[in-house]
């Protein structure tokens, strides 16, 4: 019985750690508007300043992941800000 409990606890720990390792994005509920400005600038700049295709792909993937996080977790004005600011930088290239 004890072994079973230990095994289950180990699985639960692994699963929860696995989630964090995947880099689940959590947008601050208090400061999401500022985060929208900061993250869009930082991530879109990384996309346009990439020097290799691999670097570009990784940056674009992260930008898309944050866009999705803003869309699903916050939405509204902050999501629009994230898109607008990203588009400004991406369109400037």
């Amino acid at each position: 019985m004890r072994r079973l409990i230990i095994a289950i606890a180990a699985i639960v720990t692994l699963v929860s750690c696995g989630g964090n390792a995947n880099g689940d994005i959590v947008i601050s509920e208090q400061n999401h508007e500022n985060e929208a400005y900061d993250r869009s600038y930082e991530l879109a700049t990384r996309v346009v300043e990439a020097t290799t295709y691999e670097e570009y792909q990784s940056a674009a993937e992260k930008l898309r992941a944050y866009r999705e996080a803003f869309r699903t977790q916050i939405g509204g004005q902050s999501y629009t800000i994230f898109l607008e600011e990203s588009n400004l930088i991406l369109g400037d290239i």
Binding site: V47, Y56, T80, L83, E84
Partner: protein
């Protein structure tokens, strides 16, 4: 004798249950249970306040209509009209609010598509196979020549359309000429799309050279240099 009375009791019970079920059935058929016009209108108003999407608005409108019909059936037209006068302004407000949401949704959809288009362009540019500087310039020059061809064709179509428009006025708007101008307009749109596509290809070539090789393809400069040499 005893069996007969048992049969009659069973039959009476069956018919009573049948009638009760019929009555319940007609009641269950309707989604609305009327209280007072004020209270029902308040219920509709509460639902209308939480409307965000077109589907939600339609659902509340449908429910309000069902209430109105139920009032008309149960109490006659006057009460139905009174109920309508109570809920209609609320529905108008919900409609206006929905229009604002729709405009915002359209704006966000446009921003999303711009976002994906930009990333798509960058992806294309990073993956584009590139040749020598001269080869890349030649690609752009070939595309520019194609654009010039399309543009000449476009100008002729625009002139044809203008002439047709004048002829249509003189002829008193006959249907066959209106159809003809419709075809020309379609051709113009198709050519404009083709031009935009080739221009976009050139933009991607320039971007690809810049991203992959930090190489600038300044075709205008090349042309200027060539003109200078010729002079």
């Amino acid at each position: 004798m005893k069996q007969d009375s048992k049969k009659r009791v069973a039959l009476a019970t069956f018919y009573t249950l049948f009638v009760v079920m019929l009555l319940m059935g007609t009641r269950c058929e309707s989604r609305v249970h009327l209280t007072t016009p004020e209270r029902d209108a308040k219920h509709i108003a509460e639902l209308a306040e939480s409307v965000h999407s077109e589907a939600e608005l339609r659902a509340v409108e449908k429910l309000a209509t069902e209430y109105e019909i139920a009032y008309r059936k149960s109490y006659g037209g006057a009460k139905a009209l009174y109920f309508k006068s109570l809920y209609e302004p609320v529905m108008d407000e919900a409609g206006e609010r929905r229009a604002i949401y729709r405009a915002e949704e359209e704006r966000v959809a446009e921003l999303e598509s711009q976002f994906e288009a930009s990333l798509g362009d960058l992806d294309l540019a990073w993956k584009m196979p590139l040749g020598s500087h001269e080869e890349e310039l030649a690609k752009i020059a070939a595309n520019d020549a194609t654009i010039a061809e399309y543009d000449a064709e476009l100008q002729s179509l625009v002139a044809k359309k203008e002439q047709l428009a004048m002829d249509i006025i003189d002829a008193g708007y006959p249907q066959d000429m209106l159809d003809q101008i419709g075809v020309v307009e379609k051709d113009i749109k198709a050519l404009e799309d083709k031009i935009a596509e080739v221009e976009h290809t050139n933009e991607i070539i320039i971007l690809a050279n810049r991203l992959q090789l930090q190489r600038t393809l300044d075709i205008d400069t090349e042309e200027v240099v060539e003109e200078d040499i010729a002079e």
